[in-house]
């Protein structure tokens, strides 16, 4: 039961930390962000312990959690900092809301049951994250014995030098001798945190009823939902990145310091899950840059945001190169080039995957495009950041695949079918958030509310 104790204490330390630095956000946000921030903290502590040669095990991680938990509890108690329940904390219940909640609980039960019943069976995880997690738990170090073995190919090695969030998270499950739950319990925890936070963020702008409605449509995006029961890195990355970008957009609106801090913390943790998150740092920097030009202020947040993102990206690469001493080879062409055939192939294939027959993303991108068209004038005239961010992030992410050297990495089709489609999870919540909160949607939802509440 060590894993349950870990989950509860990591959730507690994360929630208390968020409560200290962002007191005015809602209780749901604090609870939703708790585990996300807590796991990020544990990962950073594991890297620090590694650097100062302290073994990574249940005891040292337990201490890393127990010390700040005690300190934060004492600080909050001494300064009498409590959470005051306000109207924003209260969720308005109604029969349709309860029906949707029941539906959400049912599909959650279904996917949880599947996740915990089946052992880890995904190739990428068996030959990478899951194996490395077992090794970390047994050997007490991030520089495990896997780096002394020969490899089939660069792909084999690549999975062991991914940023450490997912492997550290999975290794917590292996820190007990006979684990009751498999590593996918962590995915369930992350996904539940995402649902709570996403719902809490939606209800900042739309009523609880519609917030629940759009939360359901976000979470049931078929391919993304199926990943809740898989031990892979894409869903954790999507959770951190999308929430970071949403907090950033909210900060661009209200300029509340705490929203900016949450955005930067979540984005930093997303870079600890996958290095390709760097494209979202670039996309965000562009949007903050537009805001800087518009307002002629906020240059410091732009610099801080970009620098933190790049520092973590470069930091992890240096860590792998100089501390781990591993090199997975160069997957990317490092110079700019133009290859119209490759460009057309990648973008048409990407379009096919995103729209196609709805098998992968359901109604997500269709709905997004319709709402985009209906709000086009408003987006251009008012310079709406969220749709701009969605489009720029998607463009940069797709261009990343254009820069891959396929003579080294394999076929374009295989890459797009396997890897690219999963990376789009990062954009799915942003698209649904835009669909729910665009000007057109606001007008329609207001009309619906006027009818329903009259």
């Amino acid at each position: 039961m060590i894993i349950i104790a870990f989950l509860i204490s990591i959730l507690a330390v994360g929630t208390l930390a968020v409560h200290v630095w962002a007191q005015s956000i809602t209780l749901l946000e604090k609870l939703g962000l708790g585990l996300l921030i807590g796991l990020g903290y544990v990962t950073i502590m594991c890297v620090c312990m590694e650097l100062i040669h302290i073994p990574i095990n249940a005891g040292t991680i337990g201490l890393c959690v127990a010390i700040p938990l005690t300190a934060l509890s004492y600080y909050l108690y001494k300064n009498k900092i409590t959470h005051t329940i306000t109207d924003h904390d209260k969720v308005q219940l109604s029969i349709p809301f309860v029906l949707m909640l029941a539906f959400l609980i049912y599909i959650w039960y279904g996917i949880s049951y599947k996740a915990l019943y089946w052992p880890v069976a995904e190739y990428d995880s068996i030959t990478g994250y899951d194996l490395h997690a077992k090794m970390i738990a047994r050997e007490g170090t991030l520089k495990t014995s896997i780096f002394t073995y020969p490899y089939h190919s660069s792909y084999d090695l690549a999975r062991f030098i991914y940023p450490p969030l997912t492997t550290v998270m999975f290794s917590l499950s292996y820190m007990e001798i006979d684990p009751i739950f498999n590593t996918k319990i962590m995915m369930l925890g992350l996904a539940l945190s995402f649902i709570i936070t996403f719902f809490a963020l939606l209800r900042k702008y739309i009523s609880d009823l519609w917030a629940m409605f759009f939360t359901i449509f976000t979470i049931i995006t078929p391919e993304m939902f199926s990943h809740i029961s898989l031990a892979l890195t894409n869903l954790p990355n999507a959770i951190y990145t999308s929430l970071a970008l949403l907090y950033l957009v909210i900060w661009l609106q209200d300029k509340k310091r705490e929203h900016f801090i949450i955005a930067i913390v979540l984005l930093s943790i997303s870079l600890l899950s996958r290095s390709d998150s760097i494209v979202y740092v670039l996309a965000s920097a562009l949007v903050i840059g537009i805001d800087c030009i518009k307002t002629r202020k906020y240059w410091i947040p732009l610099v801080v945001y970009t620098m933190v993102g790049f520092a973590l990206f470069i930091g992890w690469n240096m860590y792998v190169k100089y501390y781990i001493g591993a090199n997975a080879g160069d997957f990317f062409v490092k110079t700019l080039f133009w290859d119209s055939e490759k460009f057309t192939k990648i973008f048409s294939k990407a379009g096919g995957l995103m729209l196609g027959d709805g098998l992968l993303y359901g109604l997500t991108f269709y709905t997004f495009l319709i709402i985009l068209a209906l709000n086009f004038k408003d987006i251009v005239l008012q310079i709406r950041y969220l749709p701009i961010l969605c489009i720029v992030a998607w463009l940069l992410y797709t261009l990343l695949y254009y820069q891959i050297d396929y003579s080294f990495a394999g076929s374009i089709d295989a890459y797009l079918n396997a890897s690219y489609k999963r990376g789009l999870f990062n954009i799915v919540p942003l698209c649904w958030y835009f669909v729910a909160t665009s000007k057109f949607s606001q007008i329609m939802l207001e009309k619906a509310n006027t009818f329903l509440y009259k």
Partner: protein
């Protein structure tokens, strides 16, 4: 939340928190949302797959096979590969260094079992490593890649391969077996 016309819309607090939806309209809204979800799950391939295959088919299988243990679940997923890995695991200590035949030999027509042909399977060292960790695995086709080959303690013998690496004669040669390099009296646990 500070109101700002040039950004995201802000919800109407009055509608949301102060008023309550009349009961009849709650029913109407519930029916409308239920119908919408039904239509979406019926008509869209993706949502249909999620509901029928991902949730219901899995729940049905799990409810029928509630008592399967870890090994049985692995065998349900990976067939002979999982069964043989379990056999190797049971018959070797944690610190064993095990020699395997080349990965390709698991794909040959005269392989003793039907092994996984696609991604993964016992033919892939790093895949097999996951289930046999902390044992060290040395595959024949990778011998040249090892900088310092550790001292082999066990050999996976398949279709006659591997018996010559043992320091003793084996009377009965099975089509698949795992045996210590040095002779011991210990009998292997039976094949699964």
């Amino acid at each position: 939340m500070e109101k700002n016309k040039k950004s995201l819309p802000v919800k109407d607090i009055k509608i949301n928190e102060a008023k309550k939806m009349p009961f009849v309209k709650q029913i109407l809204c519930t029916v409308a949302i239920a119908l919408l979800l039904l239509a979406v799950f019926k008509e869209n391939k993706g949502y249909n797959w999620l509901w029928n295959d991902l949730i219901h088919e899995n729940l049905k299988f799990i409810n029928k096979n509630k008592n399967l243990n870890y090994t049985e679940k692995m065998q349900a997923k990976f067939g002979a590969d999982a069964a043989l890995i379990e056999y190797i695991k049971k018959n070797t200590p944690d610190n064993a260094v095990i020699a395997f035949p080349a990965g390709d030999s698991f794909l040959s027509a005269n392989a003793p079992y039907k092994f996984i042909q696609g991604l993964g399977g016992i033919k892939v060292r790093v895949w097999t490593q996951n289930f046999l960790y902390p044992r060290t695995l040395v595959y024949e086709h990778e011998l040249k890649k090892w900088k310092n080959i550790p001292q082999i303690t066990h050999v996976v013998c398949m279709n006659g391969w591997g018996y010559d690496q043992l320091e003793y004669e084996v009377q009965t040669r099975n089509s698949f077996d795992v045996l210590p390099v040095k002779y011991t009296n210990r009998q292997n646990l039976p094949m699964p």
